[in-house]
Amino acid sequence: MSTNDVLLTMRDVRIDGFSDDRWHHIIKGVDVTLKRGEILGFIGESGAGKSTLGLAAMGFVRPGCKFVGGSIEFAGMDLLNLSSAELRRLHGSRIAYVAQSAAASFNPAHRLLDQTIESTVAHGIADLETAKQDAIELYRDLQLPDPENIGQRYPHQVSGGQLQRVMTAMAMSSRPDLIIFDEPTTALDVTTQVEVLTSMRTIVEKYNTAAIYITHDLAVVAQMADNIKVLRYGETIEDAPTREMISSPKAAYTQSLWAVRALEKPPQTSIDTILEINQVHASYGKSIKVLDDISIKVPRGQTLAVVGESGSGKSTAARVITGLLPPLEGQIIFNGERLPSALKNRSKKQLQAVQMIYQMADTAMNPRHTIRDIIGRPLNFYLGLVGAAQDQRIMELLRLIELDESFLDRYPDELSGGQKQRICIARALAAEPELIICDEVTSALDQIVQEGILKLLLRLQKELGITYIFITHDIATVRAIADQVVVMFQGQVVEQGGKDEIFTAPYPAYTELLLSSVPEMDPDWLTQLQQQRALIE
């Protein structure tokens, strides 16, 4: 392969970012080489600098960041020495960007088609009519429904998965040499993710476009990339072709990333039921039914995982159990006695027995309260603890969640994401509940941090005998912690049973779709899945 085939060369790139009144090194000397038509995956946890590095490949840094060293050469041009007008000519013509959240990255005020062809027309690559016709072809290639007319819609009128595909069409419209995909499927459900991944991969292959694919999901990058670069704290940990990286990761950090997926809990059985949901119907407002006749049994001292996509009603089920949303029909039986359906009719003891942990630990804590206030409040409210007794209990709880007294007088802002979630766990434990509902508690966290939280929850269950209802869309998490599994789809329970039972064939159609959509580490997984599904159709 001659050097002419090299499209992008980044040498010793260094980027600083300004925060907390000083400059920090964000990217600390990273090299990247990308050939035409090749896909390179960047993988790492949040804060690894993968997005920053991806944007740097466009010669772009976000406000508050600056290049401090190195060189970036794209198709013979030194990007760091181009004027901003020259860079603008490259952006949206020869280098395109696909952002993480399509919903936020489309301008709400303009129609999809106009946004798709905006830069193609503005850069004079094609005239308006040609660009429009081409965009419709791209929509068709990307398997969007009604490709002729979908462009006339506004961003809020189509689904997240469709938006993400339209954004790929937008990037492809100018037939760029390079596309930066910045976590394009992270915000999507697994079943949608598969479709979007497939269509993205197909179109990139069709036009032989080089791409940088940024993600924190190993299994996803394994499907997309030819080569993988593992990043941590702005440095390269490991570079290797995909198959080699998957089969024999060398660096210890890479191995630890791989290991997270291996966490698994042997399921247990229990005869005693702590909570029973009986034929519950619920809705918001008058007309839309969110829960349609669901019945669930929660075994005592175990973990019941509720799995489903967004909109399947799993969080609503949690709201019904806690009494935040009184059901239209049906009953909730806790320890053999019927719970009043509305929160305000429940006794303090009933409230105390069921606690909740939320997905966004950030927003679930009052930012003006110290950790002492946050954990102390339920201690005081439910148990009447004050003063030294309260302090002592807070200390015990902090030790239980593997933090120490230095956290007592800190504010949530001063904690990392994983630490915040631990505080939320401690707050739930403070009430000494019998049942904790965990609503997507790990989905906002990095894999390694996730593992820590899951292990903590398992240990607490073992020591304290707490029952969990664990709401999640992540199958790997279910494997890691569940005993019983409930699969939900469009407000109904599709399947319910022991973990082994659920994860063993034969499955109901939806469970099958859900399970088969979870990306596996095998680089051939997506190809095989495509073939299988094509056969079925």
């Binding site: 944007l55 976000r62 949206g92 990255s105 301008n107 005020a109 007309s287 839309i288 909109g311």
Partner: protein
Amino acid sequence: MLQTKINHRVFIHVHPVLTTIIQRLGLGLLTLFVVTVIIFSSIEFLPGDFGQAVLGQAALPETVEAFRRELGLDRPPVERYFMWAGNVLTGDLGTSFSGRDASGVDRSRDVWQLIQPRLANTLFLASMAALVAVPLSLALGITAALYRNSIYDRVVNATTLTTISFPEFFVGYILILIFATYFKVFPSLANISDSTPLLEKIYRSTLPAFALTLVIVAHMMRMTRAAIINLLASPYIEMAQLKGASKAKVILHHALPNAWAPIVNVIAFNLAYLVVGVVVVEVVFVYPGLGQLMVDAVSSRDIPVVQACALIFAGTYILLNLFADVISIITNPRLLHPR
């Protein structure tokens, strides 16, 4: 997500713009009713009435009493209010108290006749100021956002803040001092009438319009700038930059269409101020506007005139705010094109 679905169902038959207009008009009528009740009763609570104000302290109680009976002021306030309100509903604003005196000579005029030329003058001055101030503040706000934190931005901000910080009468007198006294370009008194030709009207009204412009530009300009800059951190703005859009295009094509709602609200507020709140400027330039008329009517307890002015002022606020709401909906595709 769920919320939009619910809204969708509600709006299946009636377009949201229409429902909003109907709702706001209904609320507006209610507001008008409340406003007139408040104005009417607060004048009732003022010491003295029209009879006393006209006849003076020295008048005999019997004279005052007879005069009041003639005006209908002896009837209970509630009855008087509803009589007045009933007449207004049939389009009759009533007859002014002034022009009559104790001798029985009646030269009183229809309230509408009294108000109409004044209202025309007020609207003329307001339009003149608005035609200059609105485009100017939009242009200043957009360019300030475009070149934010530059010297230009700072100068524009400092200047408009300075002009808004001075009281209106001070701005007015300074303008008179500069443009009528030192350089004799414009007249210091803006006395116009129906018979004044248009160009002459514009010429004479330049200084008051200029004063009003200086007073309202800062508010609108700063809101325009802030609304746009607020959006500049949005992912879709970064996306536009990464698509190679120029700075001007990012601001005008990508940020501005999403920024109209707050801007239009501030514009409506300021336009309403131009109609309703300009008494001070009218006094400084001796401009025969509606504000001046209302102040005079209040001091002479001429209730029909006060009520009519209050109706017009409140109506102006309601209509302009309705207008702002409609623009906000039209510029928001989520509301204009429900899922």
